[in-house]
Symmetry: C2
Subunit: 449 residues, 2 copies
């Protein structure tokens, strides 16, 4: 959202100021003390430990946290080597600053999914061990030599504490105590994504028909970016539902080009860029450049073992909308939700107003109010040339070829199993080799969108 | 729009890189030659005159240009001393780069209005003398000693030439030849503004009723920011129409908080910040904090000679939507309009998609889908405290007091006129004193929003 872009601009402007000062021989250093909860940890400074905090003296609690964030100003959810600008980086700064964890390594942290650069989430869930005031209760573990405090203080207000130090476009919505061993990654029952797009001149009915064909259990290797190097060797995934619906159900009449629709897809687990690839194909079908049957061809990996080259859909319309877990008792803070709502409303107001300013300019230029056809606006890469049908395009490398590539480099190893078949596991030269087992060591990439 | 914010981010990122290089002892200087039409003139470098261009050898043509621009990334339309980031700065760079003018001072430039920081325009009009290929035709003036070229070449493609070098969020829409003496500023028949806002929990019917009360000729000193220092001494203005309507006429049913409305106001000329002050009062009426009758009180300068203190509405929803001129024959370039439309559509897509992402998050947080009341989101300054009625608030300085202030400083001078009344004109110490005449030298601020 524009507000997050504006925040990015402010950050950059501050950085420009700082660099200018440095150029002028004034060195500005700030010593952000984590005790100051008001400090915005955006610049990612290491928490200075002025007063060593004795975590071992406190109980810990295994909890789930549900987050929402606008991904437009970040380089993705997961921490990266080459940038500090990730949602996780901000999250861990907040967890350290509030002394809810001692460090990431010991915090027993699992995340439900990863979202890519530009992708937002309304429901990202993590599990983690946080400092607690409780000596009993679900998820609590008490230090061995602590004296039991029988007068039970209320649990720490995790949501409030974190939201106070997180940037405004990252919010903790609720928390839940979790049994030891409960994992955001492995205990997720289903994940739901939404992709928003305008009608333009798309044949939405064809797209709706096509979407349904994604449902079921299929090999999606032709509808993702293969990540063999990370150990993803198996591409069967189950899509529980895939629909295209108006974003405004009460406004479902009419065929206005400026109406918005939502591609909503619910599955157990997703491959890397899977939703954006699926959306890209739907957009081709909507533009009548492909027939809905193309989906069957792409899912028929026996006859089409190699993926045709096509660009995936752009990032900003994608939202990880829900991660579903059974057995968690979520706890909300009404005031915090109100604050989050206010903030979202401000963002929405600005986006919606600007959208209308732009739309009326478009209408002003064209009395017939048409949106130009060929809505390739949502697909990465260059625009319309002469269209080349998917099945006639150059192909990407096959799975076997990629496996061979990594076997040669020692990052995967083949083994004969007992039945005479072959299994693959991470090789000695893999950076994950200490995790390798005899079985095909597929990394279950839960939601690597 | 986000794209312009993203451009700003790119600019800042480039600047950060440049400063970093400088810190590292590498000095990067670029020599932008205006002959290269592809150069983006955004950094405002002076055009280097490598090949002196003999303007006097070419005909000139007095023309009107109609521009559209998104004001969100700029510090306003008019050139300013303390920043280069204005629409006019980009415009003049383009005019110089394309050698359509020699310099601003000799270009006979008039603008229809000024828009403030953050304010956009769908129809800003300027008049100016541009280089021409024509030796006859409306607006053409031919150099004295030129040989007449009887084979008439087509006129220069002004719209194309300028759009090629302007930033994407500033577009020339059309041009028209104009008779000598025709002025964008003084020959404008009417100006129309639009202000977009969401319904929220506003009483839009009351706002619609109230808006009508603005119509007619009134003294608007209580609904503007007085600009006495610039010679604005008279505050009567004529509002031809003032309405509040749904932004989506076909969706006029229902009372959804997320519906957008438009305050549209058409007048001959406007005072500084007039529309935003008028909108602020409408928002108070919509929140039921004031009655529609407050407008009569504010327009009754006899009983209420001093303006109550209140904040004006924010900038980004405001658009200078139309400037109307009689007698101009506008010429469009269909391809250019198509390109401008494409660009707007891309902007719109991003805004509209993000608005829907945000809106669904809001709905997800609140099943009852309510937008919180007190939609002060569109008013500058702090949020709700206990509300203080306008007529009970502290008052701003009166007009007489401000005049006195400037008379004391020599920037205005009083004079007795023949009838024994008093007139004011710019004083010797005014920076405009060379323009002063005996008559009340009011600056007709056409559209200083």
């Amino acid at each position: 959202m524009s507000e997050t872009l504006i925040q990015r601009i402010k950050e950059l402007e501050e950085e420009v100021e700082k660099l200018k000062s440095q150029l002028n021989g004034n060195h500005t250093e700030t010593n952000a003390c984590p005790n100051n909860n008001k400090t915005n940890g955006k610049k990612g400074k290491k928490a200075c430990k002025e007063r060593p905090f004795d975590f071992s003296a406190h109980p810990r609690r295994h909890v789930a946290l549900r987050l929402a964030y606008l991904g437009w100003a970040y380089q993705g959810f997961a921490v990266q080597e080459n940038t500090d600008n990730t949602v996780e980086a901000r999250l861990f700064e907040a967890l350290l600053k509030t002394r809810l964890i001692q460090d990431r390594q010991s915090s027993n942290y699992h995340r439900c999914g990863r979202t890519d650069k530009g992708v937002s989430a309304f429901s990202q869930v993590i599990t983690i061990d946080l400092r607690s005031t409780q000596y009993s209760g679900l998820g609590v573990s008490v230090p061995e030599d602590s004296k039991q405090d029988t007068a039970a203080a209320p649990e720490l207000p995790y949501v409030k504490m974190l939201n106070r130090v997180l940037p405004r476009d990252i919010r903790i919505l609720e928390w839940a105590p979790a049994a030891e061993g409960f994992s955001a990654r492995f205990d997720c029952q289903s994940r739901t994504y939404r992709y928003y797009f305008p009608r333009g001149s798309l044949d939405v009915a064809a797209m709706t028909d096509a979407a349904k064909r994604y449902e079921g259990t299929h090999d999606f290797r032709n509808l993702c970016k293969m990540d063999v190097g990370n150990g993803v060797l198996q591409f069967e995934r189950t899509i529980l539902s895939a629909t295209v619906e108006p974003a405004d159900p009460q406004r479902a009449d009419g065929t206005h080009p400026h109406d918005l629709f939502v591609f909503e897809i619910k599955g157990l687990a997703f491959l890397y860029h899977q939703v954006r690839c699926m959306m890209a194909v739907l957009l081709l079908i909507g533009q009548k450049l492909e027939a809905p049957e193309i989906i069957h061809s792409l899912l028929d990996v026996h006859n089409n073992p190699r993926k045709p080259q096509y660009s995936m859909a752009v990032d900003y319309p994608l939202v990880l909308y829900d991660c579903h877990f059974d057995g968690l008792s979520w706890k909300r803070d009404a005031e915090e939700l109100g604050l989050a709502m206010s903030s979202l409303q401000q963002h929405w107001t600005e986006s919606a107003v600007k959208a209308h300013v732009l739309r009326d300019m478009i209408r002003g230029l064209d009395a017939t109010s048409g949106v130009s056809s060929g809505l390739c606006l949502l697909v990465e890469g260059s625009r319309q040339r002469k269209y080349r049908p998917l099945l006639e395009r150059p192909l990407c490398e096959s799975l076997e070829s990629r496996i061979e590539h990594f076997v040669k480099r020692g990052r995967l190893e083949r083994e004969q199993d007992e039945a005479g078949g072959e299994t693959l596991h991470k090789g000695k030269r893999s950076k994950y080799s200490q995790n390798s087992t005899g079985a095909a060591a597929e990394v279950v990439n839960a939601s690597p969108e």
